[in-house]
């Protein structure tokens, strides 16, 4: 902690000329007939029939311990892709990301199953995030209480498909937010549910942020960026357009978006 106060700041994430390319099958330009597809397969060489989407183009930055970094930019500018690449979930086409420990994305939606009860989803989600069975048992009641699922009766023992979309979102957030992270990344629109729950989840994010070494937040809400971040990266068309203190970057960004 003392070290942090001195000017020898500790880097936690170093991105070095990072490029991310998605490959999309079956969305290629030109003829879409079966024979065209066949001839593409037979003609070997430069991966035919696959369209490439260059989502992140040469982004470099260094993030330090104790920073809360906002990622802004218009839709499709590569914000979420950049987060996933930092987390090591998407392989880099070129360049590298160096991290201190294992950054994690806040969210477990993909691991949960609608046909299972809320109860089993809490356990499954916790295990998927790498928690041990004991940790989950310990936090189970907190997770359920936080979600507020049982406020209107015993819903936690019903399959998740019977939940209203708000309830399901609340449970998903509660599970995701149950684990502490070292480098934490939060994708936009996490604070879901009714007003009361929104407030509760914002508080929880703030708590998580305090525990985490470095936080990345993707959001379209300039207010929440201003509230939480002290540095902002502005991405546009996969390129880093600006990197600096929140106020300066947001001012330029608002000028750019014509607000």
């Amino acid at each position: 902690m003392a070290e942090q106060q001195q000017d020898a700041r500790v880097p936690t994430v170093v991105a070095d000329d990072l490029h991310i390319v998605y490959r999309v099958n079956g969305a290629k330009t030109g003829k879409g007939s079966a024979t065209a597809a066949l001839s593409r397969i037979l003609k070997r060489g430069e991966e035919r029939g696959v369209r490439k989407v260059h989502a992140v183009r040469g982004v470099s930055f260094v993030a330090y311990r104790g920073e809360a970094i906002g990622l802004i930019g218009s839709n499709g500018s590569g914000k979420s892709t950049l987060l996933r690449a930092i987390a090591g979930l998407l392989p880099a086409e070129q360049g590298k990301v160096y991290t201190d420990g294992q950054p994690s994305l806040l969210g477990v939606n993909a691991a949960l199953m609608n046909d299972l009860t809320g109860e089993r989803n809490v356990i499954l989600g916790g295990l998927a995030m790498g928690m041990s069975r004991e940790e989950i048992k310990e936090r189970y009641q907190d997770i359920v209480d936080f979600s507020g699922i049982n406020e209107k009766g015993d819903f936690i023992t019903l399959p998740m498909r019977t939940y209203s979309s708000g309830m399901a979102a609340r449970l998903r957030f509660s599970i995701a937010a149950a684990k502490d992270h070292d480098v934490l990344m939060i994708d936009e629109a996490l604070a879901t549910g009714d007003r009361k729950f929104q407030k509760r989840s914002e508080d929880r994010i703030r708590e998580l942020r305090k525990e985490a070494g470095t936080v990345f937040l993707v959001s379209h809400n300039n207010k929440s960026i201003r509230d939480t971040c002290n540095r902002v990266l502005w991405l546009e068309r996969g390129e880093l357009r600006m990197d600096g203190p929140t106020d300066e970057v947001l001012k330029e960004y608002e000028k750019f978006t014509g607000k």
Partner: protein
């Protein structure tokens, strides 16, 4: 939040004030940062996988439960589905095509049911393996875990499915007068070996399917060919008696046929060693080890690339 970072540079270049002059690589090395998403060593990978054993088991059981959770009869389908499957095969091959040639009825029906269930175990492990990564890209792109957890979990799900089918199988076998004896204990090693083989195959298919999702369309035909060639509904030595011996040998030595024959040998009293090829246990073990180890290493080699899809 500390306000100390407000003096960071405004320019697009990385603000590396105290470490000025270092390249990204040197800066990372100086502070002990590691490449994000790099592939761990094989030993480390096995250790990570072991740490995730509870997740692997919970995921497979969740998938199994979710399968029939919308049906009115619920989990009863776990047993009813294999039973209906066996009935269909018996109707077509036992009654219409008379594929039971050379085997008495009380041997043929357990023979057929065993074959169908044991082959289905391998078949569904392969099919689940093909989609293990390509069908779960959302999960792969959201959370960290050794990716081998997925194909292993799916193979485990099929093993649990088979254990349900075993209830039907035991009922059929006993119903045709083959009572449990010591040889039934052989079921355990057979299942273990076949599970190892299936898991290895699922791992191979998972990597191939992640790169080429088209395999999901192709595999049903491959699997059906394999099924008809493995003697699921007929006895290979009896049917191919008038053909050159090497054909029967080749078919009998294929892993699916070996595991089916061993299971029949364990369960059915009159299905003796004369129906089995030589060195059958050695072959069963060799296939299991070869695929489990080979498949695991093959899958691990592409570990860092699975998120690409």
């Amino acid at each position: 939040m500390s306000e100390t970072t407000h003096d960071a540079t405004v320019a697009v270049t990385p603000p590396a004030a105290p470490d000025e002059g270092l390249t990204a690589r040197e800066l990372a090395a100086k502070h002990g940062l590691t490449v994000s998403g790099a592939r761990p060593s094989l030993v480390e990978y096995v250790r990570q996988l072991w740490d995730r054993r509870h997740f692997i088991l919970a995921f497979s059981r969740a998938k199994l439960t979710a399968q029939y959770s919308q049906a009115k009869l619920g989990q009863l389908w776990q047993v009813a589905t294999p039973l209906l499957n066996a009935a269909v095969y018996f109707f077509i091959f036992g009654l219409l095509l008379e594929a039971d040639r050379g085997l008495p009825r009380e041997v043929y029906i357990p023979f057929l049911v065993t074959g169908v269930f044991v082959f289905t175990f391998t078949q569904s492990s392969v099919m689940a393996g093909v989609r293990a990564i390509s069908g779960n890209l959302g999960l792969v792109r959201a959370l960290h875990f050794p990716r081998a957890s997925l194909p292993i979990s799916f193979a485990l799900q099929q093993l649990q499915q088979l254990l349900f089918s075993m209830i039907v199988l035991f009922a059929v076998t006993i119903g045709f007068g083959h009572y449990p004896d010591l040889s039934w204990l052989l079921i355990v090693p057979v299942l273990v070996l076949q599970f190892c083989f299936n898991t290895g195959l699922a791992l191979i298919m998972a990597r191939a399917g992640a790169k080429t999702p088209d395999l999901a369309q192709l595999m049903p035909f491959v699997m059906r060919t394999w099924m008809y060639a493995s003697g699921v509904m007929f006895s290979i030595p009896i049917f191919l008696a008038d053909k050159p011996a090497w054909i029967a040998n080749l078919l009998q030595w294929n892993p699916a046929a070996i595991y089916m024959d061993l299971m029949r040998f364990a369960l059915i009293d009159d299905y003796g060693a004369k129906f089995l090829p030589d060195h059958v246990w050695a072959a069963a073990g060799a296939w299991a080890v070869l695929f489990a180890v080979g498949g695991f290493v093959y899958f691990w080699k592409a570990e860092e690339r699975y998120g690409r899809g």
